[in-house]
Symmetry: C2
Subunit: 443 residues, 2 copies
């Protein structure tokens, strides 16, 4: 009788998770399959700075996206943790409101003087849905033109109801099953820096667009013309400009990146790094837009707990006095330059994309995904957690980068030997499945 | 020159909040106007058990809804706080997943053996939207029949797009501005215990209903026939039964109240008391329904942080060994009986509604709202925070009830003197505005 090989505690737990949780995790980007199927440590015991210990007791230096962009200060930041613990230990939920929610909104408005009102939520997805509801209420229109990734909600996935249109917007394969079919013609995608595409949508859907929803930047910076024309179009057509700073915010400058890039939003949404790992999201906007939130019901019990605002205030207090954007830019540049240098030395076609603060890289090779998976697996053996996207954080030091590059200097040459040998050889060396990209059903 | 009277720190802060936050708070039910406009303490400094200190340093015994139903164990429960602080201090967000999310889902499935898969979210509103998305994806249908209150999202508010239909469902006046107009015929309300109304919807919308969404109970218990017929209708029509346990769950029995009431759901949603004040929500369901979550994109970064599941597990651990439902029933009954007794002695027409665990009361008098406001204001003077809805919690003792009733025994006779004197006299005695009910724009 054949017996299956013993699974490690982490692999066994993830196997159970896939039986109990549709999709295995609560976030697509945290699926072990997105990194290295059957090899990724999957579950954490403790985390601090840029280091973590998995549930099997292995310690790793972490050069991933650091909580999918949430932990810009690093894990378990001492100042944020101190503020959060203080709030928890003095009671973080009751029938009254927490004064820090007013303080947080006031602080965000000071940093973004174009805005004069704000609301809070706890997750980025729901905060974007609040923003779209407000824009629809303020304009009396239902449709949205958008660019980039904005979450799981109906207003966004509706775009995929008539054939996949979101594939160019970060995540391929997003299935809109269960989104009401009548929403099919309410969400219109355009590509970043392609103002003609937006103009064409505005022409086709004249008078119907409530909002232009976009990430201010992700892989590339916007052109000055793109930024200026978007505002012109919105003004001309009575459309609200909603800037989604969930990933970009605080990473490129202190505040929303729209401040540095020249956008003039009507509404802006923050989440992720605003709480450095503690759930909080904020929607700020001009009074004329936000007043519409008085005329539509937007209300949720857990938006009133006390930890979120306290965490965000501690994050802002800290980021006010340290230069996080300069630091993560330096770390990302050291890392990208180092990787490029090693790849060049070894004759490996490695392409660095994005910007230093939101780095991603790929092999210019048909077996890119298998090679990336193998890279991750080999780095895991050297106690480094990494993949093809790296979001540096405040806790990363140049010495950490050095350690990463020392390991890469051993791993990349191993990969170089495989480059000419084709798929079978790479997969044999890998010995486990190739990583996934995008959304797909798990077996 | 006239100067306006000095505002107290709490009133000044709330005045600022109304300038900066559309609606003043993040939850309608936490608006000071819902209790006693211009008098309610509004903001909290610390909370513990059934006591809290406001930002002006006043201490109160709290007999309100205890965090709008979230803090069933009382504020800042020592066991939950200990578990949460431990998780925060060991890092509560990183790129890997928290094993407790699997543990929590497993625990919920053990307690609800009809269910075999689960997902987590952080707020009740978004969790209900996950449930509806799954039901729509599983059935390939878009419409929903519902009963009760289920939050701020489009699928629910759509019901009010063609005239207000939600007024009988807990909160009157919910404005659906900003909900896409094409959703107008996707949400159909029926009243609790009125199976004919559901039958009529099913007949009119044959083959179009994805789900029947309902609270298992709130003010009254369902009849056995109602419970049985709902399941029969869902089976006959291929509709999924989604039970919203956000308010009812854990309060009447350990687990969803559907277990005790005889409902056989396809999907059930928990939030509020599951985290005892720490944001967590869970969606559990039968495999045949939940597998649809594999085929539609449902994913959010902050659904993966580590505090929510740890808090929920601590709550379940504690509630497994203490009898919270019996205790809150006893406290609620003592309170309701005591209030009735005093009212009767004083000849006050006071009507107790709901059930002891979700108590509400009203004066059978044309000036009910003014009288309720005056009651709240007079109780505040006696250091008791209360209003017309009282959700007892584990931290309330019979001695706390005694203190409440001692105060009520002084306050109610004061009100009795005003009953025959009409509106002007009551409002003069009150000296501040009458409380609001339902959703309305703030000035």
């Amino acid at each position: 009788m054949l017996t299956s090989p013993e699974l490690s505690p982490a692999q066994a737990l993830y196997k159970k998770a896939k039986r109990l949780i549709p999709g295995g995790t609560q976030l697509l980007s945290k699926r072990p399959e997105m990194f290295a199927p059957e090899r990724w440590p999957s579950y954490v015991k403790k985390a601090k700075g840029c280091r973590l210990t998995d549930i099997e007791g292995h310690e790793y230096l972490d050069f991933t996206t650091m909580g999918i962009g949430a932990c810009l200060l690093g894990y378990n930041d001492p100042d944020v943790t101190e503020a959060v613990v203080k709030r928890v230990e003095s009671g973080s939920m009751c029938t009254l409101n927490y004064p820090e929610e007013v303080d947080l909104i006031e602080r965000l408005l000071e940093l973004h003087p174009w805005a004069s009102m704000g609301r809070l939520a706890r997750t980025g997805g729901e905060a974007m849905t609040v923003a779209v509801r407000i824009a629809r209420a303020a304009t009396g229109r239902d449709e949205v033109a958008f660019c980039g990734y904005h979450g799981w909600h109906d207003w966004y996935l509706a775009s995929n109801l008539k054939g996949e249109k979101l594939s160019e917007h970060l995540l391929p394969g997003l299935d809109p099953k269960g989104v009401p079919s009548c929403l099919a013609e309410t969400a219109w995608p355009f590509e970043f820096n392609q103002i003609d595409q937006l103009e064409s949508i505005v022409k086709r859907r004249a008078g119907k667009l409530a909002a232009v929803v976009m990430e201010p930047m992700r892989s590339a910076k916007p052109t000055a013309e793109f930024v200026q024309k978007i505002r012109e179009i919105c003004d001309r057509e009575g459309i609200l400009l909603v800037i989604d700073e969930i990933t970009a915010g605080w990473r490129f400058n202190f505040g929303g990146s729209h401040l540095a890039l020249g956008y003039e939003p009507d509404i802006t949404v923050f989440a992720k790094a605003l709480g450095n790992g503690h759930p909080i999201a904020a929607i700020i906007g001009r009074s004329r837009s936000m007043q519409a939130a008085q005329e539509t019901f937007i209300s949720s019990t857990y938006w009133t707990e006390g930890v979120g605002p306290v965490a965000a205030l501690a994050v802002l207090d800290k980021m006010k006095v340290i230069d996080v954007p300069a630091h993560v830019n330096t770390i990302g540049a050291l890392l990208g330059d180092g990787l490029s240098r090693i790849a060049k030395q070894e004759g490996i076609p490695l392409h660095i994309g994005g910007c230093p603060a939101l780095l991603h890289w790929a092999f210019d090779h048909p077996e890119n995904l298998a090679l990336q998976t193998l890279f991750t697996v080999e780095m895991l053996k050297r106690d480094i957690l990494t993949s093809a996207s790296i979001y540096p954080c405040w806790a990363h030091s140049p010495q950490d980068v050095e350690r990463y590059l020392d390991a890469a200097a051993i791993v990349l040459p191993k990969l170089a030997d495989l480059l000419g040998q084709g798929k079978a050889a790479i997969e044999r060396e890998l010995g486990s499945p190739v990583r996934h990209t995008g959304f797909s059903r798990l077996n």
